[in-house]
Subunit: 351 residues, 2 copies
Amino acid sequence: MNSSIAIALDAMGGDHAPAMVIAGALLALRKDPTLVFHIYGDETRLRPLMERHPSLQSAIIHHTPDVVPGDMKPSVALRQGRQSSMRMAIDSVKDGTTQGMVSAGNTGALMAISKFVLGLLPGIDRPAITSMLPTSNARCVMLDLGANLECGPDNLVQFAIMGALIARIELGIEAPRVGLLNIGSEEMKGHDEIRAAASILRDTPIPGRFIGYVEADEVPFGRVDVVVTDGFTGNIALKTLEGTAKLAASFLRQAMHDSMLAKLGAMLASGAFSKLRTRLDPRAYNGAMLAGLRGVCVKSHGGADARAFANAILVAAQLIEGGLNNRIREEFARLYGVPGNSNGVPDQVES
Amino acid sequence: MNSSIAIALDAMGGDHAPAMVIAGALLALRKDPTLVFHIYGDETRLRPLMERHPSLQSAIIHHTPDVVPGDMKPSVALRQGRQSSMRMAIDSVKDGTTQGMVSAGNTGALMAISKFVLGLLPGIDRPAITSMLPTSNARCVMLDLGANLECGPDNLVQFAIMGALIARIELGIEAPRVGLLNIGSEEMKGHDEIRAAASILRDTPIPGRFIGYVEADEVPFGRVDVVVTDGFTGNIALKTLEGTAKLAASFLRQAMHDSMLAKLGAMLASGAFSKLRTRLDPRAYNGAMLAGLRGVCVKSHGGADARAFANAILVAAQLIEGGLNNRIREEFARLYGVPGNSNGVPDQVES
């Protein structure tokens, strides 16, 4: 695509903000020079970080006096954070200044504000944090990764449908296999909500194939293309995956210093090792979309560094280019007869 | 220790039973020749498997006509499974024939039957599936890994106390750090039960130090010695860990066939790789105790092979030698004044 993509960045969110946001923007620009950034944050801190970099001269700084702290309650952020970098970045998606936004800030606040400002797509009651996870030979879509601590059966069913559409659009799988995360394949296992959702999904036409329950150790081996779960469980699974991948990488480093032979072997295999480290590196998978919103919002890890944040920016760019939200809306309308977007929401926030 | 240890094996439980149970017993005997096995199962299938092996001549076969299938409801197994290999192995712990048992069978049935037959230690309302998980430089105790789908605050508090005692006894840490698994460190996050448990633990003298919430990605890096969670969440975390470790091992194999140089490097580093594979191999961590019972029961993975099952047997032997159950009982009595075991349960089932 040659036309430029306008992306809003919450420059003040995340453990290493704002420096890593600016450094991440630079890295993302190298991969996709069509990106134009609108950077929301404290101008006096942003200017010195940006002026060294000629490639960021097209970026527009929007000064915002406030910040949403990492431990602020979502309800408080919603009331008191109107002049915050997060809020104003989301506002820019709503008013069409940008086509999507990325933040590494407070997850709960990001959910609450984006839901309030942008609203939900028709047919969807709650947004879901959605990401692509690595599997042995491909990737799978997983949701919810932390937006909704408790989910009723209807929420899980909506997540299944959104997840299937995302797998179809982003992974190119026409009839994705959808599974509900559970602790056993026997009918009697799992919470009531999961069993109720399974029962609804067996009788619901989804854009894919519902294959029943999937256990967490089957997910990395591609048993399904879409993993559906509540936000508490999904977040625990995601963080466990990340922690274990880091642990494996650290075991690998230790092993390669085990002996002189191991050190020599590691030197010879250094190209392969570097690829392996990339595959094990959670930063390569950073950037989760808030699926179900009328607009593109991407949540980055709070602890993201520049490379991880750059990845989240590229996720947002891909979602904007693919027009995912419009396609979710169309599919929901086609499949379930929910009304399309004819209620005056400007087109550009639907990208 | 020179005195022999009598362990009951449910020979019919698990995907690869009974062959892997017998092969696992052989491997365990090689590591600990003081073990004497009581093997519960179908004699006509067991005899041919065992008679080839002189070292198993001391093992005693107890013929059992029934099997608890993997998909049988716990309540049905409890009523109808009285002649099953699982039940009769547990009965042998109760009547003192053996000092502990190991099964790779139906988890729900194992919990229900062992709780019914052996009973709970004083002060404990529910047993917890407990395991030692690898961390970057040591191990940590994690519970519950799947016994109780829903846990109230009191259950979580009891798990915290048991877990701390297990860390003290099995890992030799005098004041273990205990954390509640949650999805964020902020006060507002997590289910009601977790927050209520945290609030109780802040005011309860436990045999260790309650450090608050811990996130799943901190666990592999040793932030705590004891991770407390409900059985649903714990099982998801455990299976995610196992799946990710297997994925990392498979990425490693792929990387080492990446090029001629990588293959050569892998050859030179083969000793270090073999250690690394062992550290990443979930079989090395197989065998979870059912903590809180009046007797030693160890649950093996259903998909265990001989090597994994042997590890579960050695876990049982260690628990018996360490007298863990007696020490949990004593500590609960000392800390909280719950009555000790003066109700006629034979000493040997307390080992």
